[in-house]
């Protein structure tokens, strides 16, 4: 089965906007068409592509998250020489990893990338292992983004062990790779996508870690909850009275902001 035609898994989680979900749904028929287009490339490539990289549903938890701002100016060729990608194109690649289950969920958006994809790998959209300014082998091959107009998207979750269809030193460049390696040193990996016109890459960017969960930016002194401020006044004296007054003000503001 060639992963280029794999159906993205609808994650259905809140951080995927309804608009984006709609885009993904619209993209499905196009993805199918792409799989036909890329089938030929698979035959021409090493032929080692095999069943792996299973499309799975989204796990309940993640151990890390990463984002990529992919741009044309950072693309390099096989000899690490600058090989600028498609002018004006950008990619935002968001990855959520559960390294315990070896699952990576991806939300990829390309803007301004045109033309057909092309890569010796099973798909043309990858995470490679290499420092900035250096080329390096692909470790994961994602279903190529697709869509109408100037925006292409691809979303879903893949479970390793991973294969890319690219052979190096007698084995697939994904073999032996673990998502923990990304967590240990995200800056040593980059995301990119390759097209027929920009074979070295249309856009590229290094991975950076993003924080997970809410941001702990308050200690509660002015919290607008509860109803015990009145009794606190009796116990606390003047300074508490001042604080309580603030609480009362906040309650009114809170009510407004929630309205």
């Amino acid at each position: 089965m060639n992963a280029g035609g794999a159906t993205p898994v609808e994650t259905g989680k809140s951080n995927i906007s309804p608009i984006k979900e709609a885009l993904v749904r619209r993209a499905l028929p196009k993805l199918a068409a792409l799989s036909v287009l890329t089938a030929g490339a698979v035959v021409l490539s090493s032929g080692t592509a095999s069943a792996a990289d299973t499309e799975v549903s989204e796990p309940d938890t993640f151990t890390s998250m990463f984002t990529v701002m992919a741009t044309p100016d950072t693309v390099v060729g096989m000899s690490n020489q600058p090989a600028p990608g498609q002018p004006g194109a950008t990619g935002t690649f968001n990855y959520r990893i559960n390294s315990d289950e070896e699952i990576i969920c991806y939300d990829l958006t390309l803007r301004g990338v045109t033309g057909e994809y092309q890569s010796p790998a099973r798909t043309a959209t990858h995470i490679h292992e290499a420092q900035p300014g250096m080329s390096g082998p692909p470790r994961i091959a994602f279903p190529n983004p697709s869509g109408e107009g100037g925006t292409r998207t691809s979303s879903g979750c893949l479970q390793g062990p991973f294969t890319t269809g690219v052979m190096a030193n007698g084995q697939d460049t994904g073999s032996g790779f673990s998502l923990r390696e990304i967590e240990d040193n995200p800056a040593a990996f980059f995301g990119d996508t390759h097209t027929a016109e920009y074979t070295a890459g249309a856009v590229r960017g290094q991975l950076t870690r993003v924080p997970m969960g809410g941001v702990e930016t308050g200690a509660g002194a002015t919290a607008s909850t509860g109803d015990g401020a009145g009794t606190a006044l009796a116990a606390g004296g003047g300074l508490l009275a001042a604080v309580a007054a603030g609480v009362a003000v906040l309650r009114r503001r809170g009510a407004r902001s929630r309205a």
Binding site: Q206, P211, T217, L240
Partner: protein, 190 residues
């Protein structure tokens, strides 16, 4: 004598004993290295050095650089009076994410009035080279922390935008944490 915010609600004022440690709360930062001023970064990147929000009277001359804490959450300023900048640690275009506390254990903090911002209000970010980038507030959203839109706040974007984050919602006394975050989205105007 001292007290924590929690007892205020229940009406019980706790007298601080030797064992009354200042407990982790929605404002007590995870363990972070000593604050480093965000005035220079490797690779010659342009980073925010100061921030002004005229509508709120916020005028921070020095922005503290922040990263990801050991537990995977965002580091926050240890000083409730200071604004922090999430350093993405890579040279790239992207959002400028500024974090500040809504309150401390004893009163309002630097982003106390963030909720009062309105579309069109200006946010001015000063760079180390002396230049000032101006952003206009576009929208304000309150989001539950347990459904925090990570990539809508910290995710890459080709646009020059500022995202301001503080706490909001109810204060969970048990968890000593606010239930929500307030996120202000602002876009570059000049």
């Amino acid at each position: 004598m001292t007290w924590r915010a929690g007892p205020l609600r229940s009406g019980i004022v706790l007298v601080a004993g030797a064992l009354l440690v200042l407990l982790a709360a929605c404002g007590v930062p995870p363990e972070v290295p000593p604050p480093a001023p965000a005035v220079a970064a490797p690779g010659g990147r342009v980073v925010p050095a100061s921030v002004r929000i005229p509508a709120l009277g916020v005028d921070e001359r020095e922005v503290q650089r922040l990263g990801v804490a050991a537990d995977g959450t965002a580091e926050v300023p240890q000083d409730f009076a200071r604004v922090g900048w999430f350093d993405p640690s890579v040279a790239r275009p992207g959002p400028t994410v500024l974090l500040g506390h809504v309150d401390s254990r004893s009163g309002p903090a630097v982003f106390f009035r963030l909720r009062d911002l309105r579309p069109g209000d200006l946010v001015e970010v000063g760079r180390a080279d002396g230049s000032v980038a101006r952003y206009a507030v576009e929208r304000i959203e309150q989001v539950a922390k347990d459904a925090f839109p990570t990539f809508a706040v910290f995710g890459a974007t080709p646009d020059d935008v500022v995202r301001l984050v503080t706490c909001a919602g109810d204060f969970d006394r048990g968890a000593r944490s606010y239930t929500d975050n307030l996120v202000v989205h602002a876009t570059r105007v000049r």
